[in-house]
């Protein structure tokens, strides 16, 4: 399932070398389209590029756990979005209700989310690993509904937000534009979490046994690996990353009960685009979708200005972009950008 960065890059290089002229032309056209937008609107472009990166990182944080659990246990955990949402609400509880510093929330909330995740795994999911995959989807869907009702009951349905720490509530100058320091901080924290997960899976004995379990669970168990324990541990890990993502997202734009379903669907889109079973794919696809969503508006306004045709500037497209990307990827490359053949087919 997980592959190393060098393997991924080597594959990318090999693919580029083997591209047909048509694809090269399409790639060149994309570069030109983006370059024109960058030259005509540098400030807006960089703003949105960073916005897209931040959003993409959040998507990666949710998709990573989803992809890990899907690869390991063959279950699409629909409740993963609810865990992400809980991260944001726990952070609100720590910062706004208890008056503790943001750093405490960043440390405590993900662990609390992880514990909720373990509870979900032990009480519900553990009983249905041998069933059809749809059963897991249905059960976690019911769990999402319950968790959303809990959030509605405890914190109310109105959107909430909390204060950022003073250090991060400033702006950093990037030459052409000013960027909120917190957004850069988000990118740093997400990149660090992704790197840690990545190292855990590729460089440790624990990760080795987990990967072995994905390839052949029967044989791995035969060799004396306690797989159920690793399943629970991976579920905890997935929930913690989603929780970190939730804390960051909650601090940036606030929270509401609708974010659970929205983000689990987007995360699944990311997994589909990246290719199920590939962690590298999830990371690449998350950033790709985040950037596509944010840059598409800049590109459209820039081209509308350059050509003078205002009809190019279609509004309200942002929400649709992830699904368009998915549609194109599915039509061109049905198993995703870096997906393995035969996985979940």
């Amino acid at each position: 399932m997980p592959r190393t960065v060098s393997q991924g890059l080597a594959e990318v290089r090999a693919r580029v070398a083997g591209l047909s002229p048509g694809w090269l032309a399409a790639g060149l056209a994309l570069v030109v389209v983006l370059a024109v937008a960058l030259v005509t609107k540098p400030g807006l472009f960089v703003d949105n590029a960073i916005g897209g990166l931040v959003y993409g990182m959040i998507l990666v944080m949710v998709a990573l756990g989803l992809s890990l659990i899907l690869g390991l246990m063959g279950v699409v955990n629909f409740a993963h979005g609810a865990l992400f949402m809980l991260g944001a609400y726990f952070a609100w509880q720590v910062v706004a209700a208890m008056g503790l510093p943001f750093w405490a929330a960043l440390a405590v909330a993900p662990v609390a989310v992880g514990l909720v995740g373990v509870l979900v795994e032990v009480t519900v999911l553990r009983n249905i690993y041998d069933e059809e995959p749809t059963i897991g989807l249905l059960a976690t869907f019911g769990l999402t509904m319950m968790l959303e009702e809990v959030v509605r009951g405890v914190w109310g349905a109105a959107p909430k937000s909390f204060e950022l720490p003073a250090v991060l509530a400033t702006n950093t100058s990037l030459g052409v534009t000013q960027v909120g320091t917190f957004r850069l901080f988000m990118v740093g924290v997400s990149a660090l979490s992704i790197l840690l997960v990545y190292l855990l899976i590729t460089r440790t004995d624990f990760g080795l046994t987990v990967r072995a379990g994905v390839q052949d669970s029967e044989m791995t168990a035969f060799l004396g690996v306690d797989l159920p324990l690793r399943f629970t541990a991976m579920f905890f890990l997935g929930a913690v990353i989603a929780g970190v993502g939730g804390v960051l997202r909650g601090a940036e734009v606030g929270m509401g009960p609708g974010m659970a379903e929205k983000f689990v669907i987007l995360a699944f889109v990311v997994v589909v685009v990246g290719g199920a079973g590939s962690l590298f794919g999830s990371v690449a696809a998350g950033i790709l979708i985040g950037e596509a969503q944010y840059l598409s508006t800049v590109v459209l306004t820039a081209w509308a200005d350059v050509t003078g045709v205002q009809a190019i500037n279609v509004g309200g497209l942002e929400g649709l972009v992830p699904y368009l990307v998915m549609l194109v990827v599915l039509l061109v490359r049905p198993r995703g950008l870096f997906g393995e053949e035969g996985f979940l087919e």
């Binding site: 699409v76 519900v124 249905l138």
Partner: protein
């Protein structure tokens, strides 16, 4: 039901047994409104009309999930397409309702076929999540109000009713060619026709093939069934039935609302079907009845008087708690999925009657 059948002395070939589903549907249509309108239940008859429409819709979903084994998490999209095409056709293009309804069914079928071609044969989870993603995309499109057609988040209400519907104090009447009739009976007629069509589909060789695909895709493939094609066909067919329900719902709720395209509507559909029991023809019908009834009953029900309303000694205020009835329903749903995901309430009732019948037979022997 074999025990019950032998107890009643009805043979395998007896017409009552062979046609138990049409008979059951007829009994349902006649009996539903008096039961629902009774003061112990909802107390008003309109709920029965909504129930029939929802039953058509959830049954169309079950053609996909229960009979073909494809879990669609975006089925409300096709209900919405049916609603919006009819609403746009009637209000903007001034088409007769019937023409608009046929157009709605065709549009839904075309969209369904296109999506089915892309995602059929992708594995169950993929299918479920991709339908969800397409539904979400449809939500964005409708919300963006393209060409001013869909009305964005406020939906369509102006001029969406056909001329032959008269509304008086919330009651709808059908006035057609000098004849008057109740809206309920028109819905009931469409309900019977579509449900019988679904029944015919399910028991036809086509339907049996779908079940073969559901039960064992590999085996079905190896005996020469083009499984992807059958899945696409089932998906297309079920989207068209869903659009029929949408066309009826357009009249019933006087227009089209964006809410139909929301994930919650698709989610509710899955919940209703699974709660009712996806293995049975009457499963979705049971699910819709229980769900809509619970929703109506629990949200209007505030104080629990014990032992009885007239002779209350203890009154418990439940209004605060019942706002969160979806939590209990979610818990019940998880329980049903864990214990027996295909049987649901209808399966439970069936099992119960069978056991009682077996017991009775022992006693009477």
């Amino acid at each position: 039901m074999s025990d019950l059948r032998t107890l009643l002395g009805v043979g395998e070939d007896h017409p009552l047994y062979r046609y138990r589903i049409p008979v059951g549907l007829l009994v349902l249509v006649v009996g539903l409104r008096p039961v629902v309108a009774h003061e112990w239940f909802a107390g008003y008859g309109q709920l029965a009309t909504s129930m029939l429409i929802w039953m058509v819709f959830v049954a169309s979903f079950n053609l996909l999930f229960g009979y073909t084994g494809l879990l669609s998490f975006g089925h409300a999209m096709f209900l919405g397409i049916g609603m919006y095409v009819v609403a746009i056709g009637v209000s903007v293009f001034a088409l007769p309702w019937l023409v608009a309804a046929v157009a709605g069914v065709l549009v839904a079928g075309t969209v369904g076929y296109a999506i089915g071609r892309i995602i059929a044969g992708k594995g169950e989870i993929y299918f479920a999540m991709l339908t969800l993603a397409f539904a979400q995309a449809a939500y964005f499109v409708v919300n963006a109000d393209p060409y001013g057609l869909t009305g964005g988040s406020s939906g369509l209400t102006q001029g969406t009713l056909p001329t032959w519907i008269e509304t008086y104090r919330g009651q709808k009447r059908v006035v057609l060619a000098g004849m008057q009739g109740e809206w309920y009976w028109l819905v009931a007629l469409v309900f019977l026709v579509t449900m019988l069509a679904l029944w015919q589909v399910v028991r036809s060789p086509f339907g049996r093939t779908l079940m073969a695909v559901r039960d064992n895709r590999q085996l079905a493939k190896s005996i020469g069934i083009d499984t992807d094609r059958y899945q696409t066909a089932a998906f297309t067919l079920s989207t068209m039935f869903a659009a029929v329900a949408g066309a009826l719902m357009e009249i019933n709720s006087q227009g089209a609302s964006l809410e139909t395209f929301a994930i919650n509507t698709s989610g509710d559909t899955v919940l209703m079907a699974v709660l009712g029991g996806v293995n049975y023809f009457f499963g979705p019908i049971t699910g819709v009845f229980v769900w809509l009834f619970a929703e109506d009953y629990l949200t209007s029900f505030e104080t629990l008087h014990l032992p009885l309303a007239e002779f209350s000694t203890v009154s418990v205020d439940l209004s605060g708690l019942l706002n969160y009835w979806a939590f209990a329903l979610g818990a019940l749903f998880v329980l049903v999925v864990l214990v027996s995901p295909k049987d649901g309430i209808w399966g439970f009732v069936r099992g119960l009657t069978e056991r009682v019948a077996a017991r009775l037979r022992e006693v009477t022997r």
